[in-house]
Each structure stands twice: as C-alpha cells, then as structure tokens.
C-alpha cells in the first residue's frame, strides 16, 4: 500500500468546532458574574454624587503632578455599562478568538475603576494613586517569592502547602540572626537557610517516604508555628532588644529612574528584595523553559515514569526543585521581618503563604502568570487599606471582597488549558 493513512487522516480537517458543555458552563458563569457586578455598579449610582479625585503624587514628591478629577456619576455609569456589554458578549456566545480575553480584561478594569470612583467620589481627600501602586508592589513582593517557590515545587510534582511555614521560619531566622549580627546579608542568609531546612523536610518525607503531600504540608505549617512560637516565648521576648531588633531594609532608589514622575516613585524606590523578586520571576521562567534542568523538572512533574526510562533520577530532580523553591520561600519570609520593623511576632506571616499558593493555582503553575496574580492580591490588600482611610460609606469587608471578584472575572476571561502538572501530588514509587 502506498498511501500513508496516518498522515492523511491527521491532516483531515477536524469536525466542525462545537462548544463543549464545560466551555459553555464556564462562558455562562463568567457572563453572569460580570453582569452581576455591572448591575451592582449601576445600583451604586444612586449613592454617587460629586466628583472623584485621584492624586497622582503626594506632598513629598519633587515633581508635583496634578490631581485628576473625574465626574463620579458618569464614570461609574460608563464602567457599569462596560461590564454589562462584556456580560452580553459572554452570554450570547458571540465572542470568538481573542475577543473573550479582551472583554474579560476590559470588564476587570471597569470593575476596579468603577468601584474606586464610587468610593472616592464626593470625599474630602483625593485617592492617592501612587501610594496605591507603590503599596501594591511592596505587598506583592513576599507573595511573588512564595509563588515562585510553589511553582518550582509543583512543576516537579510536589504539592507545597507549607509555603506559609517556610515564610514563618525564615522570618524568625532573619529576626534572630539579623539582631545578633546587625547585618542584613547575614539575616538574608539565615532566612534562606531556614527556608531550605523546611524545604528539605518537605522533600525527605514526600519524596523518600511518600507521605501524602497535603497532610505533610499542613503538619509542616503547624511545626513552624509551634517551634517559632515556643522559641519566641522562651527566648526572644525576655530579651527582645538582643534577639528581636534586626536591621531594616531601606528603600534603594535607582539613580535617574527614581526621579521619573509618578513611575519613579512607584517602581524604582523599592527595597532590595523587591528588585530581587522581579529578577527572580525572570530567572525562574528562564530555568523552567530554557534550561535542561527545567525540562527535567517539568518532565518529572508530568510523567515521572517517562523521565525514569530515559535515565533521569526522578527523586534527584524533585529534591533539587523543592530545595530551589526553599531558597525563594526563605527570601519571601525574610521580607516580613526586614522590610517592616525588623522584629518578629507570633504567627507573623498571617496567611500570606496560602495566598501565594492560591496565586500559583490561579497563575496556572506558570511563574509569570502566578506573579501577576500576586500583584492582583497586593493591589486588593492595598486598596482596602486606602479606602479605609477615605472613610467610605460601605463596610470595609465588603470593599475587600469586590476586587477579588474582579480578579476572578479576569482569570475566567482568559480561557485556556487550565490543568495542573499531571503528576502533581503523586509520590513516585519505583
């Protein structure tokens, strides 16, 4: 037979693309969510009066930028209508190709703009925009480190629920060593070592002893809480001057760039850890997708048997990925001590490790997407605290929820292949 049947059929056109039930459900639920938020904005119109002012610079800036004033009613109306338009697009199913992504992004932005305007309109004080963004970056820094830790572990097939525990022990180590040595580098090294120890515990039990990884992660978190709490009570608190007064990281303005109006203050007046986080995102991306080590990490996370049959040590690669994650976990933990007051308190990291884990999943196990999710979470937290100072009429808990809704909409709009590494969480037994 001369015809190559396989190739001939492979090149045949696929059956007409039809919407699968899963896709349809996702599209409709996204549409309903956006529509709901749009309706909420329009309801909010009743209590929107006057104009909303947004301050682009604060009193200490060299170059004073004008305060932007937008008409409250019109802006909220436009934002609400944009949401409804996007919702109609989703619900009617008429969006094709790139359009669903675009509509999702527009709706997400409109939600944030709409609610900010609604909250700020008719207030005494302008909304400080540069504070908002600078604060976002600062809050996102430890989350980014945590997310990178999670991405590295989970890409190799190890679920890391103990990012929180790594944060906590690293923050504690940074406080103690920083206080004893008065040296920032020493504190950072101690934090990284603490992160590595926690990562090694995760690795040895999950990789060598095949312990259920989620249970193990929870236990490691409890261990970190217990050990740091005990040492804090017994050792640190009685002599807090000696053990709990680590040096604090100063902002490092980048010469030249830092004096750019608005952006300089937002982007280039951060501390060393924030710059390091930005570089790390790129480094982890490079490692995962452009190096042989990264190829092997992804292979053992997807199909460990396949890696084994070509002579790759599954355990070795998983160990290396978890330990590399530990370095980032340690750096992230050090931020809590060194970028704030230089002192540690019990259960200091308040769930940031779990938020980082959420960012990993929402960012689809991709370093860059996960970091963008971290920025979202940072933005949300910062906005809630800003709005509290503006004394808006609505309860602050409610304010806290809305931007998360915006996040979900944005994520849902970016429809694609969402699935974890195939072997994530499954111990490899030879």
């Amino acid at each position: 037979m001369s015809i190559d049947t396989v190739d001939r059929t492979a090149s045949r056109p696929e059956a007409a693309p039809l919407e699968t039930p899963g896709r349809r459900r996702q599209r409709i639920s996204t549409g309903i969510l956006i529509a709901g938020v749009g309706v909420l904005l329009l309801v909010g119109l009743a209590s929107t009066d006057g104009s909303a002012r947004f301050a682009l610079s604060d009193a200490f800036d060299e170059v004073q930028l004008p305060t932007v004033t937008v008409p409250g009613f019109t802006t909220v109306l436009v934002c609400g209508l944009l949401c409804l338009a996007a919702a109609v697009g989703y619900l009617s199913g008429s969006l094709r190709g790139r359009w669903p992504v675009l509509a999702g992004a527009v709706a997400g932005l409109a939600v944030v703009m709409g609610f900010l305007t609604w909250a700020a309109s008719g207030r005494e004080l302008p909304f400080p925009v540069s504070n908002q963004f600078a604060g976002t970056l600062s809050l996102a820094t430890p989350l980014v480190f945590g997310a990178l830790c999670g991405v590295l572990c989970e890409r190799s097939g190890i679920v890391n629920v103990s990012i929180e525990g790594q944060f906590l022990s690293a923050a504690f180590a940074a406080a103690i060593v920083g206080s004893l040595t008065s040296s920032v580098p020493a504190a950072l090294i101690a934090a990284v070592l603490a992160g590595l120890v926690m990562a090694a515990l995760l690795a040895v039990f999950s990789i060598n002893y095949l312990v259920n990884q989620v249970v193990l992660g929870v236990v490691l978190n409890l261990l970190a809480v217990g050990v740091t709490g005990f040492l804090f009570d017994q050792l640190v608190e009685p002599a807090s001057l000696k053990y709990n007064s680590a040096p604090v990281l100063e902002p490092l303005p980048i010469p030249g760039l830092a004096s750019i109006p608005f952006f300089g203050r937002v982007l280039f007046e951060q501390n060393i850890l924030a710059y390091l986080a930005a570089i790390s995102v790129f480094v982890v991306w490079l490692v995962l997708y452009r190096t042989t080590w990264g190829l092997r990490i992804r292979a053992v996370g997807e199909h460990p048997e396949a890696a084994d049959t070509v002579g790759i040590s599954v355990r070795g690669i998983r160990w290396s990925a978890v330990l590399a994650g530990g370095v980032f976990g340690g750096l992230g933990g050090s931020f809590f001590t060194l970028a704030s007051t230089g002192s540690f308190t019990k259960e200091f990291t308040v769930g940031n490790g779990f938020i980082a884990l959420a960012a990993v999943i929402m960012g689809r196990w991709h370093p860059v997407l996960a970091s963008i999710m971290c920025l979202f979470f940072g933005f949300v937290t910062q906005m809630a605290s800003q709005l509290q100072t503006l004394s808006t009429p609505m309860p602050s808990q409610f304010l806290l929820i809305l931007p998360y809704v915006a996040t979900i909409i944005a994520v849902a709009g970016l429809v694609g292949r969402v699935r974890p590494p195939a072997a994530d969480g499954i111990p490899y037994e030879k």
């Binding site: 037979m1 015809i3 190559d4 049947t5 396989v6 190739d7 001939r8 059929t9 492979a10 045949r12 059956a15 039809l18 699968t20 039930p21 899963g22 896709r23 452009r290 190096t291 042989t292 080590w293 990264g294 190829l295 092997r296 992804r298 292979a299 997807e302 199909h303 048997e305 396949a306 890696a307 084994d308 049959t309 070509v310 002579g311 790759i312 195939a422």
Partner: protein, 539 residues
C-alpha cells in the same frame, strides 16, 4: 541457521537464569534468552506470562532476583535504564513513555540534552528530529505537541526516541495493540528495514498472525518460563498450543444470526460529552436488532467507551434519543437502565466491574442486591446470596477457593467470569460488553466468547466494544466502525482487514472498499499460508 543457536561470543545479548519474583508470584523463572543482531526475535506469550517483566529487567527498570545479563560479552549486574541505554538497548513501552504536554523535539532530547551550558538548544533538537525521521523514514513534526498526535504517530515518536540513542537492540512491547491494520503493516516494514540495518529487534506480542508474518525467531513464554522455541512457518494451531499449553480452537463456533424483525436498541442523533468536556460521541445513529451481535470497532479513544457509558446512564446524553424496545433510555440512572434489562460488562473489571475486597458471593449480587430474593426488608438474605453464588460458580466454572474468597484473589479470567455471571444471570434486553476479553488467557477468551454468543442466541441485542480486530471479526454479525465519535460505516464481518483498517482511520466505507483490493479475510489467510509454505520448502 537453527533458531536456537546462541550468538557468537562477544555479540548480542545473553540472558541467563533471569528470575524475578513479586511477593509469592514468580514472574520470571530462570529464563535464558539470546538476542542476535540482524534478527527479529518474537517473544510470544499470553497476557501475564512475564514477557514485559523480562524486558523491564533487561532495560534496567526492574532488578532481577537472580541471573545475569551480558551485553556483547560484558556482564551487566544491577543495571539502570541509563546504563542499558548506554549499552545500546532501546525500548518502546506498551504505555508510551512520552510527556503529553511536551513537543516531539522536547520528548526526544529529554534525558540526553546537550549539557555543556545547561541551556536548551531547541533549534539543534529540531534538526536532530528531522535528521532522524529522514534517516529512518518515520515522518514526524518536531514541533507537534504529543497529546495532539494520533496514537500511531505517538508510537513513531517512541521508536525515534529509542533510535535517537543509537539503540542496537530495540524492544517493542505489544506495539500493535493500539494500531490499525495499515499502521501495523507500516510498523512491520519499519521493523524489517531496521533489522536489515543490523539491529536486533525484540517483538513482544500475543498475536499469532503477526508473529508468523515477521519473526525470524520465536521464543514462547508461559507462566514465567521459556517453554520452547518455534519457527514462523509452524502452523498457527501449534504456536497457540505451545503458548497456552493445550490444544485450543481458534475459530469461534457460531450459527448464523436470526435477528428480530424490529431493532431492540435504537440510537438517533446521539451526542455525548466525555468527562473532560470534549464531545466524544457526535450525532450517532445505530440500530441493534435482537439476536445479533454488533461490534463497535475502532482505535481506542474514538468515543466507544463514552457511548457504552451513555447507554448505561453513567454519563448524560446531551442530545438525541436512545430507545430500548421502544422505551426511552435517555435520562435514566444506571439502576433504572439495569432494571430496563441492560447488562453491562465494563472495560476495566478491576475499577468498574467488581469490588476487589468483596467476596465472590457479594460481587455476584451487586446489581440486584436490593431485590427479591436477596433483600428482605433492609436485610440481606445471606443464604439466598450463597445459594446464588454456589450456582453461578458452578455454571460459569469460576475457579475460586470458595464463594467467600475476595474477588481480588482471583485471576483476571475468573474475575471476568464473575462479572459475566452477574450480568448474564437475568433476562436481558441488551448486553453491552466493553473489551470483554482484555488481558484474558486463551482459555478464558474461548469461554467468554461462547457465553456472549449464547446470549445472542437467546434474542438479546448484544453490543460489543472491542479494539481487537480479531475479536470483532470473530464475534460480530455486523461491525460498526467508530472514528472521532461518529460511525464511519456498518459492514458485514467478512469485510477485509484492509477495509476495516481504512475505516478505523476515518475513510468512508465506499472509499475504503474502492481503494482496498477486494480480498476477503479467508483469501488473505490462504495467501499468507501459501507464502509461508513456500518459504518452508525453500529452507
């Protein structure tokens, strides 16, 4: 050259006294095997005979409990896959060792990346793939993602992956299980050209037809032992006897079907989505009459499983109607479809067919435990359960120590008999059996086939989903070929393999009939027989 002559010293592979135990089970019992370059060596044996275990030992994936492996005169004790690869052994696994989300090029360089800088050189990897596919005539796109490729092409990638390491000894583990007949032919010509290049090929299979077509040497393994060698010219019945250990009838004995005047099962425009959200069955029409067997043929993953599960009510039908004896089946739960007279033999008996930790007696009433006579109010009438079990064990010749043994302690064949005994022990309107003989030894296959035909002769509409073409041809009164969720065509069982193969690749019936020569299966077999006879005379 006699088939049993060992290779010259310093060449080829020598396995001596290889023993591998898993707990009490001796998977390999002091096996000796010689592999010579330039030969296609078939390892023939039933499922579970220990062929794959032996090859995993050779490839370093398993460590033998006893015995030695010598590769070209060098002893390799406690070998790892890495050492086996370095020594020139390549293996195409039955379950492909490919990372689904990687491209072809990424899969090919995995584990053998050019490691001077630590950076991936994908441009070089692509060139490498192209060079390899050109050299061996195995056409693949280096940038294609594995999960988007048809199974046959994935297998090519597996073969290329083994060849990329300059393998001199290529092990192919049941490579034809997932292929259409045409793809099998192509694979065989690739195997021949590799052999002619001087490579040694170990071809693991249980299909006699293929062995006789391609083998240079045949080693037969039964219950973990080498039971003999054979020549490809030996008659099929002799090979089967050697493989099974007793004489077997290879032809299924069945009378002509006498179908009912009206279809008992009628599917119209049925759409079904698979659990992962893709449309598995699309706009499918099918009528099945009482007293006939319709086999659904096709390469694995073309919607057959989803169709069967939709009939049972395990997954929802999106659109269309399914009627059994004029009553709608759509929208019913599995327990309602069972009450409507459906018997179901699932594809994976361990996962879905029976509960391994339950006893034989309990498994035999799983689908009607809540009915007369087994249920008395909320209690089970255990004496009735035992009576039933004793009766079925006897009727279906289930080899078990007692009716109180757990099902997981039985062999695969006997587990399948438990499932059949349960499903066939009531009056059925429709029997749906998926891969009813997968992984069974020949004796059990005979038995299962006999019972399926008996059920047909009682007037039941029988639907059998099978990827084994031999089984399809042997059992079917009509064959419905499925491709990408649709029925390509319905043909009689004497249709040639070539036509069926083309249909399994999506070629419409008329086109397939036109492009294939009109040889029937019987003629094809006769031709093969004649050519083998000829070879026999020459040698």
């Amino acid at each position: 050259m006699t088939p049993s002559s060992p290779p010259a010293v310093g060449t080829g592979l020598r396995l001596r006294g290889i023993t591998k135990r898993f707990g009490d089970l001796v998977a390999n019992d002091s096996i000796d095997l010689d592999i010579t370059p330039g030969e296609i060596h078939c390892l023939l044996g039933e499922n579970g005979a220990g062929k794959t275990t032996l090859m995993n030992v050779l490839y370093g994936l398993l460590q033998p409990d006893d015995g030695t492996i010598s590769i070209e005169g060098v002893d390799h004790a406690h070998e790892t896959p890495k050492e086996a690869i370095a020594a020139g052994i390549g293996m195409v696994h039955q379950h492909f060792m490919l990372v689904d989300v990687f491209t072809v090029a990424e899969n090919l360089i995995l584990g053998r990346e050019d490691g001077t800088t630590g950076l991936l050189n994908m441009a070089q990897a692509r060139r490498h793939v192209r060079a390899l596919s050109e050299r061996y005539g195995l056409n693949v796109d280096p940038d294609a993602v594995i999960e988007d490729l048809p199974v046959g092409v994935q297998q090519r990638v597996e073969i290329l992956k083994a060849l990329a390491n300059d393998a001199k000894y290529l092990i192919l583990d049941e490579p034809t299980a997932v292929l259409t007949p045409q793809e099998t032919d192509q694979l065989m010509s690739v195997m021949r050209s590799l052999r002619d290049e001087g490579k040694a090929i170990v071809f693991i299979t249980h299909k006699l037809r293929e062995v006789r077509e391609i083998a240079d040497k045949i080693t037969v393994i039964r219950h973990g032992k080498v039971v003999g060698t054979a020549k490809p010219t030996d008659p099929e019945a002799d090979l089967a006897e050697l493989m099974v250990g007793r004489a077997v009838t290879l032809v299924v004995d069945k009378k002509l079907a006498s179908p009912s005047p009206e279809p008992r099962l009628a599917l119209k425009g049925v759409w079904v989505a698979s659990p992962n959200g893709t449309l598995a069955v699309q706009d499918l029409d099918l009528d099945v009459f009482g007293g006939e067997i319709v086999c659904i043929a096709g390469v694995q993953g073309n919607g057959q499983t989803e169709l069967a599960e939709a009939l049972l009510g395990l997954i929802r039908v999106l659109k269309g109607s399914i009627q059994l004896d004029g009553r709608p089946l759509t929208g019913l739960t599995p327990s309602e479809t069972i009450d409507a007279g459906l018997g179901f033999v699932p594809e994976d008996r361990k996962q879905h067919g029976c509960v391994g930790t339950f006893t034989v007696a309990e498994n035999l009433i799983l689908n009607h435990y809540d009915e007369h006579p087994y249920a008395r109010g909320i209690a089970l009438d255990l004496s009735k359960v035992r009576q039933n079990a004793a009766h079925r064990v006897d009727e279906f010749d289930i080899r078990t120590q007692s009716i109180e043994s757990t099902v997981s302690s039985l062999s695969g064949g006997n587990q399948q008999k438990v499932v059949l005994a349960r499903e066939l022990s009531r009056t059925l309107a429709l029997l749906v059996a998926c891969q009813p003989t997968r992984g069974l030894d020949v004796g059990a296959v005979e038995f299962v086939h006999k019972r399926l035909i008996e059920e047909r002769d009682r007037g039941t509409a029988v639907v059998i989903v099978s990827t084994e073409l031999d089984e399809v041809v042997a059992l079917a009164d009509r064959i419905a070929v499925m491709y990408r969720g649709r029925v390509v065509g319905i043909v009689p069982p004497d249709t040639s393999r070539e036509v069926l193969g083309l249909m399994m690749a999506g070629v419409p019936t008329e086109e397939a009939l036109a492009s294939a020569s009109s040889t029937t299966l019987a003629e094809e077999d006769a031709a093969l027989e004649a050519s083998l006879e000829e070879m026999h005379h020459e040698s």
